[in-house]
């Protein structure tokens, strides 16, 4: 530890305290304590893990191929087709199961990429400061001026609506928010005593970033990722509703919900309701988990 050899008690205390308290608990212990204090958050995490598992193992779980016209069209719920069949005679259950793939892929990919890049830019922007910070902040301002759905609409119309293009559009949407939150966080850490102390004793900037700033940003990173995941999934579905989403050929919750709700809600309610429930439950779980994680990991973010 750099700070231990300086003989500056205040810096030492601050640094040691903030750095050393965390590793005392093992990850397992942390998880257990989270489950104990936030049981609903834990249940939500379970739902999300289950959904990810469903997405990965869709071919093993789904009773039918989601494209095959295995039933008669518009079959109501029954033993042969648990969630009924759609207008072409495809199995709704299988399509809902496969639909988790797009939602989860688009959500996770865009959040991981977007928040990671946003975090890196946020740290750099805050740490380097000066003209670079100013430029980045102006771009962030400009990007934040576009409501998410309008930005997504424009970008997917421009890029085309393949799954990866939707991910790209979502990354652009999530970036500015992440940059702003992380930057603010880093700025406040930068002013804390132990960082100043490390600077004073001549620690290299990258070392300060790595040892002092990054660990403190991790909590925000996790919370931000969780909170934005729900947003990403909803935007993906909304794009399909607006007619610029993922290919109609690929089963998606948003696509099934849109078709079902707009065309068949009266005669075949199951076409809209099950994908709708799937989205709502998963996003609800994500939001609940985000709430719980925020309370546990980063109370400063509360109310944002």
């Amino acid at each position: 530890m750099t700070t231990t050899s300086t003989g500056q008690p205040s810096a030492e205390l601050a640094g040691v305290e903030l750095q050393d308290i965390r590793p005392k608990q093992s990850i397992l212990q942390k998880v257990l304590s989270f489950c104990r204090t936030k049981p609903l958050g834990a249940i939500s995490a379970g739902i999300i893990i289950l959904t990810i598992f469903t997405a990965v193992a869709a071919p093993l779980i789904a009773p039918h191929d989601p494209f095959d016209l295995v039933h008669e069209p518009f079959l109501p719920l029954s033993g042969a087709a648990w969630l009924g069949s759609d207008e072409l005679g495809r199995d709704v259950l299988s399509r809902v199961i496969y639909g988790s793939r797009v939602s989860m892929y688009v959500g996770l990919a865009s959040v991981l990429i977007g928040i990671t890049i946003g975090t890196v830019i946020g740290i750099v922007s805050a740490y380097v400061g000066g003209i670079i910070d100013l430029t980045i902040q102006r771009v962030v301002d400009a990007l934040m001026a576009f409501p998410a759905i309008i930005m997504a609409l424009g970008l997917t119309a421009a890029l085309g609506s393949s799954i990866n293009n939707i991910v790209a559009a979502l990354v652009v949407i999530l970036l500015p928010g992440a940059i702003r939150v992380i930057r603010a966080q880093v700025l406040s850490i930068k002013e804390l005593d132990y960082t100043l102390a490390a600077q004073a004793i001549g620690a290299r900037p990258w070392r300060i970033m790595l040892r002092h700033i990054l660990p403190n940003v991790v909590a925000s990173y996790i919370v931000l990722s969780t909170i934005t995941l729900g947003l990403a999934i909803i935007i993906e579905a909304s794009l399909t509703f607006l007619g610029v989403g993922v290919s109609a050929d690929i089963p998606t919750w948003g696509g099934m919900l849109t078709e079902g709700a707009q065309k068949y809600i009266r005669s075949a309610w199951w076409l809209a309701v099950f994908p709708g429930l799937a989205i709502s439950i998963v996003v609800f779980a994500i939001n609940f988990l985000g709430d719980a994680l925020r309370d546990t990991l980063d109370p400063r973010l509360r109310g944002r």
């Binding site: 104990r36 049981p39 609903l40 494209f67 095959d68 016209l69 295995v70 039933h71 008669e72 069209p73 518009f74 079959l75 109501p76 029954s78 033993g79 042969a80 207008e87 072409l88 005679g89 119309a157 085309g160 609506s161 007619g243 610029v244 290919s247 109609a248 050929d249 709700a261 707009q262 065309k263 068949y264 809600i265 009266r266 005669s267 075949a268 309610w269 199951w270 309701v273 429930l277 709502s280 439950i281 609800f284």
Partner: protein, 635 residues
């Protein structure tokens, strides 16, 4: 711990439960949606269903739509007249003995907002519906026998001996709403405007195909659009007489003059430089002559019209007022009809699927009738002949044989398709086409033969196990569903498989267009597309799909045989002889010794109307019949 958990758990359960409850309530009153008709060729999944309808005999079921109310026309009828005669599933609203009664307000739904208020260059259906009520054409289709052309502004007309010159005699005493006289000057001015090549042809200028072309000084970069020969094409003989000169004799010409797009507009207002494409200008100058007068237009929401008290047709129109509401979401249209806030759709277009249209009749106890309008669009599968392996005609022929047209119609179109003839019944009759290879049901001996033949062709072409392709569809209408169904056939029978790419409408057309340049191969391979029918005439289908430069002929496929037959039938004035020529051509097209378009079916549309609205007879296509002057309330 438990105190924290309990309320939250209960609360979330309550939310989920109430959601389910809400959903259940929404669906509880829904009648058993559709008794699925068993489709041939499908494994016996229906038999395992407790709710399934009793299985129907396979032969009957081949064309049955997946609905409880299969239209009786599903059995194909022979047609004997040159213009396709279509027997409607629903009878025209009967005329009671009392005769039309004037009065009343009718609330109609429009399927989309108006784009144009000026027909110039207009090919937008949602627009012609709105401006058609305000103006008149030279000719119109009869509102009872909708295949017949009759005068609108014209009282009579005659054709010269060789059939190349039409003279129209206009009604005397017709006035514009502002009091000016409507005479030959207005007609000539309007038509020369639609005929000017600087202006887009749209659907208002479709008759250009037949007349001597109007030439302008500089068309290349549109610097001078003054017409040099306009008076040789369309000429004012006297105040009430107008003459059109054709490039060749044609019986089809007057059909294109009779559609609602070919409106006569006021010369005296247009000459002041007023832009009648803006609803505000129409309101300001009161520019119409038609049965109704525009009162209000709110873009994206509604337009309202009132009866023209001085309309030149005695006693017409019958309605006092029509309010049109733009309703783009099908679920909303249904809800509004059920709530009794909408009396009719204002065209055979309401964004609903066939099943939803039939259901609407059921749920309203036939208070609302979904009238069939057959001439929607001819639907097909486009093959990019510029790309491997579709450059090999054997592959294309194999696809033509392997596509299950019955399944395509039943599943993707909910049974709304009618027959499979490439010329949609205007040449060979539909029964005849149904017996051709590739058109036969796949579970009949003939159908099995077709599949075997298709497999042989694929093997011959070097693809015994099929290949990978990309399907392209536009994100509108039923295209995605159509390609999904076709993809399954081709995968099952020929091993041809691949993803379906969906594009926004304009982006899709742009992609198809990449195959246009002579040296380009195009970025697409196989696509589901339709060609909209304005007038039911073979010329339109040849010109749109099977001739070089046709709108749907993106790869500029051409066959000298077809071009020759087209020219021959085009100038044939005897309907029977014309039909014979087209029969030969149609068979040649279907045999696919060379072709780029797999004809699937003629799609049907629905015009929803309250049963008390009388005087309605379904037009032959979705593109005309919007003056609404002949409809009336029987209440």
């Amino acid at each position: 711990m438990s105190t924290r958990l309990k309320p939250a758990l209960i609360a979330s359960l309550a939310i989920v439960a109430s959601l389910l409850f809400a959903v259940a309530c929404g669906g509880a009153e829904t009648p058993d949606p559709v008794a699925p008709a068993s489709t041939t060729g499908d494994s016996g999944s229906a038999a395992t269903e407790a709710t399934a309808a009793p299985a129907q005999p396979a032969a009957q079921a081949t064309e049955a739509p997946p609905t409880a109310t299969p239209p009786p026309d599903a059995t194909i009828r022979p047609t004997n007249t040159p213009v396709v005669q279509i027997k409607s599933r629903t009878e025209p609203t009967p005329l009671p003995s009392s005769g039309p009664r004037p009065g009343g307000l009718v609330r109609m739904s429009a399927y989309a907002d108006t784009k144009d208020w000026d027909p110039l260059g207009s090919s937008s259906l949602s627009s012609v519906i709105s401006y058609s009520q305000l103006y008149n054409q030279i000719l119109q289709f009869n509102t009872v026998d909708t295949t017949q052309v009759e005068g609108d502004l014209a009282e009579s007309w005659e054709v010269n001996e060789d059939g190349t010159s039409y003279t129209f005699h206009l009604r005397d005493g017709v006035k514009w709403n502002d009091g000016e006289t409507l005479d030959a000057d207005d007609v000539v001015y309007s038509m020369q405007r639609y005929g000017n090549p600087c202006n887009g042809r749209g659907r208002s200028g479709l008759w250009r195909t037949y007349t001597i072309p109007i030439e302008v000084v500089n068309i290349v970069d549109k610097t001078d659009c003054t017409a040099t020969n306009a008076d040789q094409v369309i000429r004012k003989v006297d105040d009430l007489t107008v003459e059109f000169n054709l490039a060749f004799a044609s019986g089809a010409f007057i059909n294109f003059l009779a559609i609602d797009y070919a409106k006569v507009l006021p010369k005296h207002i247009l000459e002041q430089g007023v832009d009648l494409n803006l609803a505000e200008s129409i309101l300001e100058h009161n520019s119409g002559s038609g049965p109704f007068i525009l009162e209000e237009y709110q873009s994206g929401n509604h337009y309202k019209v009132n009866k023209n008290p001085n309309y030149f047709k005695e006693g017409m129109p019958y309605f006092d007022r029509i309010e049109h509401f733009i309703i783009t979401v099908p679920a909303t249209f249904i809800a509004q009809v059920e709530a009794g806030q909408v009396d009719a759709s204002n065209a055979a277009a309401n964004n609903l699927t066939a099943t939803e249209n039939y259901d609407l009749e059921t749920t309203t106890n036939s208070e609302y009738v979904a009238h069939d309008v057959f001439g929607g669009a001819t639907r097909g599968l486009m093959l990019n002949i510029k790309r491997e392996p579709f450059s090999d005609h054997r592959v294309r022929q194999a696809i033509n044989l392997a596509v299950d047209r019955q399944k395509h119609n039943a599943r993707a179109l909910h049974g709304a398709g009618r027959g499979h003839c490439p010329l949609v019944g205007m040449a060979n009759d539909l029964e005849e086409c149904a017996s051709w290879p590739g058109m036969r049901p796949k579970d009949t001996p003939g159908g099995l033969e077709d599949i075997a033949k298709a497999k042989d062709l694929m093997a011959e072409a070097g693809f015994p196990n099929g290949f990978e392709v990309q399907y392209t569809v536009r994100q509108v209408g039923t295209y995605a569903a159509e390609c999904s169904v076709i993809k399954q056939d081709l995968e099952e029978y020929l091993g041809i498989t691949g993803p379906i790419e969906t594009l926004p409408s304009a982006a899709g057309y742009a992609k198809y267009g990449t195959a246009r340049p002579a040296d380009a191969r195009g970025d697409w391979e196989i696509a589901c597309q339709a060609d909209g029918m304005t007038v039911l005439d073979p010329d339109a289908i040849y010109g749109g799909i099977f001739l070089k430069g046709g709108t749907r002929n993106y790869t500029d496929w051409e066959a000298p045989e077809i071009a020759a037959w087209f020219e021959e039938q085009k100038v044939e004035l005897d309907p029977e002889k014309r039909r014979e020529i087209n029969k030969v051509a149609e068979r040649w097209l279907h045999d696919f010794s060379d072709n780029h378009w797999v004809s699937l079916t003629l799609g049907r549309n629905f015009w929803v109307m309250h049963r008390d609205i009388k005087g309605f007879h379904a037009p032959q296509t979705v593109q005309y019949g919007f003056k609404q002057e002949h409809l009336w309330w029987d209440r």
